[in-house]
Amino acid sequence: MRSNPTDYQLVAPAGLQAVLSLLAADPGGWLPIAGGTDVMVQYAAGKLPARKLVSIWNLPELRCIEVLPDEIRIGAGCTYTDLREHESVQREFTLLARAAAWTGGIANQNRGTLGGNIVNASPAADSLPALLVYEAELILVSVRGERRVPYRNFHTGYKQMELASDELVRTICLARRFSGHLAYTRKVGARNAQAISKVCIAALGQCTSGVIEDVRIALGSVAPVPIRLTETERLVTGRPIDSLLLTLARKAGVAEIQPIDDIRSNARYRSAVAGNLVVEFLEKLSAGENRT
C-alpha cells in the first residue's frame, strides 16, 4: 500500500444534493468515488493525484433503475451486479448485461458502477461499446440543474469528457427499441475472466432477406475512446451480406480504428482481431443468430 491514508480526506454527504453542493463550492477540488474499483487501485499504487474524495457510493438517487414505456433509466451508481440482475436489462439490453458479466469477477461487479466505468474513461471500458450502439443518452447533473447529452458526444479524447468540474453523471438512458435487433458482443482479453480487453465489440443489426437494414458496430480498446464504426456501417447498410461485403467491411472497419502497442497487446494483432470480429458479427447477422 503505497499511499498514506492520513494524507487523504474522504467525505460521504447524505444525498445527491449535498454532494453537488460540495462539488459546486470547490469545483475540481473533490474526486467522486463510487465503488472504488479503479480509484482504490491507483491509491494503493501511490498514483492517485487527488487528496480530497467525496463518496457517491450507494446514493439512492444514483442507484436505481426506472423502466418507462420508451426508455429505461439506469442510475450511474448502479453496480454491474445491479445490471445483471435487472430483468429488463437482461431481456432488452443484452449487450450491457453481458458486458457487466465479464467486467472483473463477482466481487468487483458488486462494487464497480456504470457511471464509474463511463467517467474513468478507459478506452478498454467494458460497457461503453454497448452504450454506443444503444445510442445511450446521459443525464448530467449539478447545482445548476440537469442536462441530457448523447453518449456518443461525451468522450472527446483519451480520458477527456464533456463534464463540468462540478457535474456528475446521474442517469444513463436507453431507448427501448432494440429488442428486435440481433445482438452480438464479444470481448477478447488475455484470459476468460478478470481481463482488460484487448479488443471488444458490441453490435446490433437488422437484416431482411439477407440485406442489411440497420446496423450499429462499436469497438473498444482500438482507439483513445470507444468508437462507432460509422463509415463501415454506412458501407454495409442496404447491401446483401455476401463474401465480398465481408471483405469490404473488414477493410473498412480496420481503417476506422487506431490501435496501439501497449503492455497488453499490439496494434497488428488488435487490427486483425477487430476485422475478424466485424466479419463474425456480419456472419451471425446473416445467419440470424443472436450471439451474446
Binding site: 499511499s3 498514506n4 484470459r191 481481463a195 503492455i263 494483432y269
Partner: protein, 751 residues
C-alpha cells in the same frame, strides 16, 4: 496397533482446520511489541557505480533507521553457493531493483514516501540484457566471461553418428521467464537480542539456508541464530533462496534499531525484485535412422541466470541431466551453460531446469517424427528407455518401467486416436482448429548425484509422556502436504493412530537439518528417514522391555512414560546414508544422477480460435508412475496444481522486460489462469514402488511442471500446422505465425 493402514489414505490435512477458519498464522498476521516496519531502497539502473546518495526534503529522517552496507558486521554476502551476491550493493550495482539501503519506521505508512525521497546518482555502465549479448562478450559483467557454470556430458561416440544418419534434424527452442506468483508475498520479521542473537520468522522453504546466510552476514555462531517458519502461502521454489535476502535485511534493521522489524513486500515489489524461472534456449541436432531411432545427438542448452550466480549452477545441472528425457541415446553430447545478464537473479521454480530442457526435447521429438514420416506416438515408442538401458548420464534403468504401456493408457484415456481423426476432418471447414499433443518425460527426485550424501540430512522423532509422537524436521509445509504425509509415515511405522502424531514447527532451535524443502525430496528422502526414526523409537521401547513387539496405543503411552521417567527426553535420530551401489562422478557428470525417477505421459486437447488467435485447452490427461501414492487427495492436488502452473507457463504468463526490469509487475498485467480458464485436469497414477522412498513413494512435486508446455504446443501445431518453438505462446504470437509476414518473436524472457 491400528488395523487400518494410514499411508495410502486421504487423512485430514494436519493444519487444515486452521487454514479453513482463517486462524493459520502467516508472517504478516504476526506483530511484536515495539515492532518497526522496514522497506528497501533499490537500484533504478541496470548496471553502474553509485556516486551519491541524498536524503531528500520533507521527511523526518531522524525518525528513521537507516542501514547501508557499512552496517554489516560479517560478510556483505547472501551465502549460498558462489557467495557473489551482496546483501546490499556497495558501490556497484548489477541489476535493476538491486537492494542498496534499508529504512525502518514505526509507522508503515511513511515508508513509501521515504523510499521515494532517497535519491541516488549513478555513473551508468553498459549493461547486458539478452543471452546473445552476454555470449558476445561485448561487455563482461561477471567473472572472466559472463559464465556462471558449464557442464558437459558425453556418452558414446557422437562425432561418428552423422555420416550414418538417414536424417539429421535440427531445432531451436526457447522458454521465457516465469514468476512463481505465490499468493502470499515474501515477508519476514526479525528480532535481535545481544545475548540470544537474531531470531527471524518468515515465509520460507528452507530454514537452514536462512540460518547459514545470517551466520555469515552477522558474524554470529550457529546457536545465536534462530529461524522459524511461519505458515507459508505458496512457494514453488520462489522462497527457496530468496528468503535469505529478506531475512538479512530485516536482521540488519533489527540489529541497528534494537527493535523487532517486519518487512512485507507488496505485489509489485515481489514481482520485480525477486527471482523467476530461468529463461532458456536449447539447440538440438539429432542423427536419426530411417526407422526413427535416435543414433545420437548434440544438445546445447543455455540459461540466463541474471546478475548473480545464486542457484544457476544447480538449475543448470538438473536441466542438463533431463535434456535427453525418457529416451535411449546411444551417443550424446550435452553442452550446458548458465550465463549472466543485468537482470534480477533468476532462481528456483518448481521443475528447476527440467521444464526448460524437456520442453525443447518433447517439441523436438515431434519434429523428428515429422521429418522421418512417423507419428508422434511411434517416434516415442521406438526410442523410450527400457529397463536395463542407460540414460544420458549412464544410469542404468533398474525398475520395470514400461513407457509404451503408460503412453497407451494416456492415449486411451484421452481418446487420442479418434479425436485426432475427427479433428483433422473438422478442421478443414471450421474457424476453430483443434489438435492433440503428447509429452512423455521423467523427473528425478531428490538431490542430484552426491547431493543427498553431501546434505547428510538428519531427522528426529520424539516420544512424549502422553503417548504422542512428534516428528522433528526442518522440512516445511507450504501447501504440498509435508506435515500430513510425514505424520502419516510416522504413524504407519509405529502402528499408532494418525491423530497421535504431530510435527514440530520448523524452528532451527527445535528441529535438525533435514535438508531444504526442494527437489521433490521431502516425502521420498526425508519421509524414509522419518520412517526409520519412528522405528527407532519402537525399537528402543521394545529393547528396554517396556512394551512388546505388538502393542496398543495405551501400551505405547505407558512405555513412553516409563522411558521418560528414567531417561528424560526420548528422541530417535537418523542421518541419511547414501545407498552403497549409487555412484556419481561430478567431474565427468556421469553415473546415478537420481535415486528414483517418476515417469509420465501427458495429453493435451487444444482449440485454436482463429477469430481471436487464442489457444485454449479442452481436456488434459495426466498419467504418471510415482512409486506409491501415500495420500490420494494430496497427490492429485499436487499434479493438478503443477499442471495449472504449466498451462500458465505455456499460454498466459509472460514477463515483459525493458532494460532488465519487469514492466508488468501487477496481477492485472501478469496473467495467470483463473478458474474460468482451466480445463478439467484428469489425473491418473501408476505405482511401481521405490526401494529408496518411504513406503515406496517417489517425489512428485515438480514432475507435473514438465509436461504441459510441450504437450500443448504439440497440440497447437497439430491444430494449425504451424511450428511453434517458443513459450509463452500468446495469441499475438499465434497470429504472427499464422498471418504475419515475420518470424514469431523469441520468448519474452530473453530481452
Amino acid at each position: 496397533m491400528t488395523g487400518e493402514r494410514i499411508v495410502g489414505v486421504s487423512v485430514p490435512r494436519k493444519e487444515g482446520r486452521d487454514k479453513v477458519t482463517g486462524h493459520a498464522q502467516y508472517v504478516d498476521d504476526m506483530t511484536l511489541p515495539g515492532m518497526l516496519y522496514g522497506a528497501t531502497v533499490r537500484s533504478q539502473v541496470p548496471r553502474g557505480r553509485i556516486r551519491t546518495i541524498a536524503f531528500g526534503p520533507g521527511i523526518a529522517w531522524n525518525e528513521f533507521v537507516v542501514v547501508t552496507a557499512r552496517d554489516i558486521t560479517g560478510k556483505n554476502v547472501i551465502a549460498l553457493i558462489a557467495d557473489d551476491q551482496p546483501c546490499l550493493a556497495d558501490g556497484l550495482v548489477n541489476h535493476p531493483e538491486e537492494p542498496i539501503l534499508l529504512l525502518a519506521h514505526p509507522n508503515r505508512h511513511l515508508l513509501p514516501q521515504a523510499v521515494q525521497a532517497v535519491s541516488i546518482e549513478y555513473e551508468q555502465l553498459p549493461a547486458v540484457f539478452t543471452m546473445e549479448e552476454s555470449e558476445s562478450h561485448s561487455q563482461i559483467i561477471w567473472g572472466a566471461d559472463n559464465t556462471f557454470k558449464t557442464y558437459r556430458v558425453e556418452k558414446g561416440e557422437v562425432d561418428g553418428v552423422w555420416e550414418k544418419a538417414d536424417h539429421i534434424v535440427e531445432g531451436e527452442y526457447w522458454t521465457g521467464a516465469q514468476e512463481q506468483l505465490y499468493i502470499e508475498n515474501n515477508g519476514m520479521i526479525a528480532s535481535f537480542d545481544p545475548q540470544q542473537g537474531i531470531t527471524v520468522w518468515g515465509s520460507l522453504q528452507c530454514p537452514y539456508y536462512v540460518h547459514k546466510a545470517l551466520m555469515a552476514l552477522c558474524n554470529l555462531a550457529a546457536d545465536k541464530v534462530r529461524v522459524v517458519q511461519m505458515e507459508t502461502g505458496g512457494a514453488f521454489g520462489g522462497k527457496e533462496e530468496y528468503p535469505s535476502m529478506i531475512a538479512a535485511h530485516t536482521a540488519l534493521l533489527a540489529i541497528k534499531s534494537g527493535r523487532p522489524v517486519k518487512i512485507i513486500y507488496d505485489r509489485m515489489e515481489d514481482m520485480v525484485a525477486t527471482t523467476k524461472r530461468h529463461p532458456s534456449r536449447t539447440r538440438h541436432r539429432t542423427a536419426v535412422n530411417k526407422d526413427g531411432r535416435i543414433l545420437g545427438g548434440e544438445i546445447e542448452f543455455t540459461v540466463d541466470g541474471g546478475a548473480y550466480a545464486t542457484l544457476s549452477s544447480v538449475v543448470l545441472s538438473r536441466a542438463t541431466i533431463h535434456a535427453g528425457g525418457a529416451y535411449y541415446w546411444p551417443n550424446v553430447r550435452i553442452k550446458a551453460r548458465a550465463i549472466a545478464t543485468n537482470t534480477p537473479p533468476h532462481g528456483a521454480f518448481r521443475g528447476f531446469g527440467a521444464p526448460q530442457s524437456l520442453f525443447a526435447l518433447e517439441r523436438h521429438m515431434d519434429r523428428i517424427a515429422e521429418v522421418v514420416g512417423l507419428s508422434s506416438i511411434e517416434i516415442r515408442k521406438r526410442n523410450f528407455l527400457k529397463p536395463g538401458q542407460m540414460t544420458t548420464t549412464e544410469q542404468t534403468v533398474r525398475e520395470p518401467i514400461d513407457m509404451e504401456q503408460i503412453l497407451d493408457r494416456a492415449l486411451k484415456l484421452s481418446d487420442y486416436e479418434a479425436k485426432k481423426q475427427r479433428f483433422a476432418k473438422e478442421n478443414e471447414t471450421s474457424t476453430s482448429k483443434k489438435g492433440m499433443g503428447i509429452a512423455a518425460f521423467l523427473h528425478g527426485a531428490g538431490f542430484t548425484g552426491s547431493g543427498e550424501r553431501n546434505l547428510g540430512s538428519v531427522v528426529g522423532v520424539e516420544g512424549c509422556a502422553d503417548g504422542r509422537v512428534r516428528v522433528l524436521v526442518s522440512s516445511t509445509e507450504f501447501g504440498q502436504g509435508t506435515k500430513t504425509v510425514l505424520c502419516q509415515i510416522a504413524a504407519e511405522a509405529l502402528g499408532l493412530p494418525y491423530e497421535n502424531v504431530e510435527i514440530a514447527q520448523a524452528d532451527t532451535n527445535e528441529v535438525p537439518n533435514s535438508g531444504p524443502t526442494v527437489a521433490s525430496r521431502t516425502v521420498m528422502v526425508v519421509g524414509k528417514l522419518v520412517q526409520s526414526a519412528a522405528l527407532g523409537i519402537k525399537q528402543t521401547l521394545v529393547a528396554s522391555g517396556l512394551m512388546g513387539d505388538s502393542y496398543s496405543p495405551e501400551e505405547f503411552r505407558a512405555a513412553c512414560r516409563s522411558q521418560m521417567a528414567t531417561r528424560g527426553s526420548f528422541r530417535s535420530w537418523v542421518r541419511y546414508e547414501a545407498p552403497a551401489d549409487v555412484f556419481w562422478d561430478d567431474d565427468k557428470y556421469r553415473g546415478e544422477a537420481y535415486a528414483a525417477f517418476a515417469w509420465a505421459v501427458y495429453v493435451a486437447e487444444v482449440t485454436v480460435d482463429l477469430t481471436s488467435y487464442t489457444a485454449s485447452i479442452d481436456d488434459f490427461v495426466a498419467v504418471q508412475e510415482v512409486g506409491k501414492v501415500l495420500h490420494p487427495v494430496l497427490a492429485r492436488g499436487q499434479i493438478a496444481g503443477g499442471i495449472a502452473q504449466g498451462i500458465g507457463y505455456t499460454l498466459y504468463e509472460k514477463v515483459i522486460w525493458q532494460n532488465g526490469r519487469m514492466q508488468n509487475g501487477q496481477m492485472t498485467n501478469y496473467i495467470m489462469p483463473t478458474s474460468a480458464d482451466l480445463p478439467p485436469i484428469r489425473v491418473f497414477f501408476e505405482e511401481m514402488g521405490n526401494i529408496h522412498g518411504a513406503f515406496g513413494a517417489k517425489g512428485i512435486g515438480e514432475l507435473p511442471m514438465d509436461g504441459p508446455a510441450p504437450a500443448i504446443l504439440n497440440a497447437a501445431e497439430d491444430a494449425v500446422k504451424v511450428r511453434f518453438n517458443s513459450i509463452p505462446l500468446l495469441p499475438e504470437d499465434i497470429f504472427e505465425a499464422l498471418v504475419g509476414d515475420r518470424e514469431p518473436h523469441a520468448a519474452g524472457g530473453v530481452r
